[in-house]
Symmetry: D2
Subunit: 414 residues, 4 copies
């Protein structure tokens, strides 16, 4: 989920953006020990240290290596911290990232300082292409900030002691939402996709028309309380609601509640970045897979929104009004809006828009190579850095994955 960039949509990166992004990454890992930052809890996740290093490698590789006189911090890092750029040569296997106990977290912090200083020094001499790559690197790092948070939560969930990244009191309950209201969407030809100004990843374009049939979207995502109703009604035990692959997944994995939930009918807790806390019935449900989202919608007599319906509804709204990540701290989804709090699964497969062309070179080498088997999510979450989101943003995960802050908003035909 990294490195997708539209270098055609370049704008000059501000040193302020660079400084803010780089600083937040450090702040997010401040509560972590060397061991916390090193262990990999599953193949899908990466160690926090790896996120810190990989995002730095990105600037070193795509910007600094063309700067006269730049000396790489350590030539071995290219092998360790390349994620999947085939054109950049061989790299350490992803499921083995957690074996890298050395370099230490402190060494990676030194690596970051080295690169940050070199970039600051090089800044005046960077041309527009390089500055566009810096901007890209900032957005790339924001994506990794979100992954860093969800990966560390997944790691802590493996520990029987259920530690908190940021211990503290439970946050105030989410405001009580009313019953779902239905908002009629636009019908006929609408435009979706990014068309500037401002930064976007290349898969967000080209902007193009689609046709929408009469439909309505719920005015908020589904709550934990509503999800408990699905559980109580035997939703996880009834094949009628499930896609065939989803039913196989539920049975194979023994799934009977959202990820990180523990408990039973008499009470649920869930693990978050602030530790194990009672499930807040009024907050949006999160850590659900596409399969669960789709099954819930079937049970509720509704369906998932398409990407185009979602984007059309959100197009005129301010993405920054929702709940996003502002500072390092124990975020949990709360509140409701078209943006933020939880990523919303759509019913749309992640496939290229008409006329999509991958960008040139290693940076954009594989913009489209993830376009099979995954579904689009929209809107961002409480762990997405504020400012990173827009209506055209296309996040994507496999239908069984649920360690991100994922939720669901219902839709229906009219």
């Amino acid at each position: 989920m990294a490195g997708r960039v539209d270098i055609a949509n370049r704008s000059l990166a501000e040193p302020e953006l660079f400084g803010r992004v780089r600083g937040l990454s450090l702040a997010l890992t401040e509560p972590l020990s060397d061991a916390d930052a090193t262990v990999q809890s599953m193949d899908d996740a990466s160690p926090a240290k790896w996120h810190l290093a990989h995002t730095t490698w990105f600037f070193e590789t795509f910007v600094l290596r063309d700067v006269a006189g730049y000396r790489p911090f350590d030539p071995a890092y290219a092998y360790l911290f390349n994620s999947y750029y085939e054109a950049e040569g061989p790299r350490h296997a992803r499921p083995r990232r957690g074996m890298i106990t050395r370099p230490s977290l402190d060494e990676i912090r030194a690596y970051r300082a080295h690169v940050d200083a070199a970039l600051a020094e090089a800044w005046p001499q960077l041309g527009p292409d390089a500055r566009a790559l810096v901007e890209l690197g900032c957005h790339h790092e924001q994506q990794h900030q979100e992954l860093l948070l969800t990966d560390i939560l997944h790691l802590f969930a493996q520990n029987p002691l259920k530690p908190a990244v940021w211990p503290g009191a439970a946050s105030a309950p989410s405001p009580v939402p009313g019953p779902i209201g239905w908002i009629e969407g636009r019908t006929g030809a609408v435009e979706i996709g990014h068309a500037g100004p401002g930064f976007a990843f290349d898969c967000e374009g080209p902007r193009h028309q689609v046709l929408l049939t009469p439909h309505a979207l719920a005015d908020r995502p589904v709550t934990n309380g509503e999800w408990i109703g699905f559980i109580k009604d035997g939703g996880y035990q009834d094949p009628r609601w499930w896609l065939s692959d989803g039913w196989a997944w539920v049975q194979r994995e023994g799934v009977d509640a959202p990820l990180y939930w523990e408990g039973d009918g008499s009470g649920w807790t869930s693990l978050g970045l602030d530790g194990l806390k009672p499930v807040d019935a009024t907050a949006p449900v999160t850590h659900i897979s596409f399969f669960e989202a789709d099954a819930y919608a079937s049970w509720a007599g509704a369906r998932l929104p398409t990407e185009a319906e979602w984007e059309s509804a959100a197009a005129g709204l301010d993405p920054n009004e929702g709940q996003f990540l502002d500072d390092a701290g124990p975020v949990r989804p709360r509140g409701y809006g078209p943006f933020g709090s939880v990523w919303e699964w759509t019913g749309s497969a992640y496939r290229p828009y008409p006329g999509f062309k991958p960008a040139e070179g290693a940076v954009g080498e594989y913009n489209g190579k993830f376009m099979s088997g995954q579904f689009v999510l929209k809107g961002g979450s409480c762990s997405t850095p504020r400012g990173h989101m827009r209506a055209s943003y296309r996040n994507f995960f496999y239908p069984h994955q649920r360690w991100q802050f994922t939720g669901v908003r219902l839709a229906k035909d009219l």
Copy 2:
């Protein structure tokens, strides 16, 4: 890939259709021994005997059980030969179908005769709903005829002796096609999906408008000769052409040619229903996965057609002009048209059309339950029974599957 029916689009089934379909199934299995018809060569495939029995169970379950006085041939068969209808109760696990050495092939033939006779006797008293279910059962059985052929070919390919289902001389070579010509497609709003008259599965509707951007489709599928060019150019060894999941599949499985190909640069053979024969350079390439089709298109500087582009181009044409299955015999793809010879992978994920609603009851219980993770194929193949095909037909398989007669037609943006 079975049991999808639109009972809203019902038409009266003709006894002639029923007789023809049931007869062809028997003819297809005429060359098979009891052992040939029993063994299951992989989880994705089913034994020929199971196909014969399951299609019969369909009529027994959905039509005859409501006929007064009907006595099931054997009550245990419901458990053995239900495929995946959860509402019809528990069933034998799919990967264990090959363990059922008894009942024998001859007993299953007797089962078929029993059900055929009962249906003939009941015919005059069947109402329109039942007749629609008979029609559905005929189309369902035609789907299984194609699977039966591809499953038996897969089984025979596991035998080091490489037996032929229908031994004989190599068929005449495919006519020599010219270089690919590009046919410009319609642009703007077009309608796709089934809207009667005539039978269709429910997932083919509702008919609806889509917007097409300027594009062209190749006037024929890719040939074996062209595919050899891809191989010789190192196509299977170059990650640039592959989707990420495809590249992982190629490396994990050691794929370096279409399924059933054996040989090297100096000459290829491929196993077919007529045994091991030299690869015919002028015939359409077949037994390729979506991943391979997509990689080939990238290598060729093109892309896959979308389902809508394909259907729009084929809409006015006669589906029966292509190469289809007419009689039991050693079909191999030859010839070129918008229909027949090989299924054509599209770039479209198999997802519901706007307004799609699953049909009521067990028959249609799961019409949509396969709508995740699969891609749409269009056009039918040399092993699709003639008459089964139409432009709106939606076949679907996972992107790594390739034991069907699958091929590829290129598309490009204009």
Copy 3:
């Protein structure tokens, strides 16, 4: 479990032995259909057709290929029906044996007739080495007769219809045994291992001395009724009784009764060659793994006999007094003796005797190659051909395997 021979212990094979053995193999497969004889139900098992062919290949390869003028029945069979003789060249992978639907069972019968006729014709001209190989081939085929029966039972157990190979009434119950009596064994130096006259496999020698400490063996194997006591006492749920690997196996596989048992505390049935029948409380328990045998012994405050204790106790007795396979038919363990009814797990790992040397050439190429990870069983079973057994016989299986007619006799220190 095949092909182990001591060509130093050669004796002349009688044509009578050959005829009897070859005839029994055919009789055992008489009730089988082509499909029954073709399917492979697990990697550990082989199809009946493969057993018939492999034992024939043995004579063809090791005896007939040196006979002037012999023409192989089909040169392709060497690839299909070699089991594991590396020196005889490449061979079909063991877990894929069930894919070979052709040649058919009838063709394999013709293969057998061809080889039998050739051997009869060649008989007068065979020298002593060749005749020893014929004798070896007969013993080899007897081993496969037992495997054939246990493999076909395993296959039929996968069929929800639970067919019987030889349907019929339940056999008379086993005679009621008294409580276990303890027979004190010999102490000090005893000799074990084969030292002629008569045939033995090479791993049965050299004959050598071992030291026995004071001990006693039970006068009969454990019964089904006693085993039900173990189940009722929670034996399968209590880690105290189990070896560590055994406990992992029980939990991973969900084992809670002998293989082929179905039921619960209120009544058990078990599948045999005569179909599904009530468990006979007075018969010896069978289809148990080494892990189960060892756990039962721990629970009973006893232990397993060592191979030397067992062989020493059985040395002076007539091996043919027990229950063995005389004719094709639905054998089940009944009766009690030092020989027959059920193979008895010993606590001895299958390792070479002092001074053991593998035989020369392909026939004996791998006599010792199975000597890791397996345990010795003694005494033969109801499905071991009568005449095949002796006190020095060393059968061996992995500690989790239990599809043979395996049982357990207790031992204790004095």
Copy 4:
């Protein structure tokens, strides 16, 4: 490989022993970072932090919990740091030990200090049973010291940077051994097994007689130089030398050299605790599996010694004359003796001695539960703490395991 104790052979534990053992464990982990001490590189290995904690839990659980007024350091640790004592309650799954990033290495050091202080304070009031348990705990901890070293080496081997635990110059080459000389062993009845005085694990007894046939043992283990001869002769590619399970392992895992070797015919390096160094041709070969040891012996026309042959030969010698672990540092095998340098695989399965009875209670609960599927190793290695070894010592591993400092000494029949 832990917790085996003969509480019948108790002797009073000296506070000196306790202090020395506890101090060495800390010294061994001194070069490790928090991350180094936390990550688990494979299911067979445990994190260094876990070793430090588990050995401490042992004293806390079996000694201190019976001391009036003792307060556990943290009640949650019992769950985290119990290894496999079923009687001590549920525990964290072994393959998930590497997920425990918290408590930190420093917290575990504090845990150790807490328990050490409590034990020192309690010492005067401990009775003989408790003191015997302290002695047992010391021997138990010595076993874990060896595992800690081999586990950390395995972890560092996963890091592409190939770090050294103790960087430094290569140690002096091993003294050049002469050609193998053969030492004739004792024949007839000999006694093996422990019979005091001094500490031993319970599986080392009872002492008993065995019969040895004429044989000779090599006067030293096989060297790296000799092993390179095996490689050059195609030993890893020739099935003749291999046990059947070993050949399957070699092919499945792609094994073609000892573990941690890198290179080819023109030169080999191997990773050790001192980093990547050239293979010393004159040092004993190490990091080989039983399968490799057995194959080498077959290739060399020899065999493995039995446990009894080995123990008989070593019985009168001083175990401390060999190379053992004296202090924290980069040990590599060098030198040759009946003890030390490398563990020597025997051909004997790890099974109970005649009359063996597991000890009472949780401490000895499972002394025998590992007695299936493993082979005995004798003699200790360069990473076994000096003083821990004796002729009767029985180490054991599965035949494919090779991350210990394992080697091979040849034997032959006379």
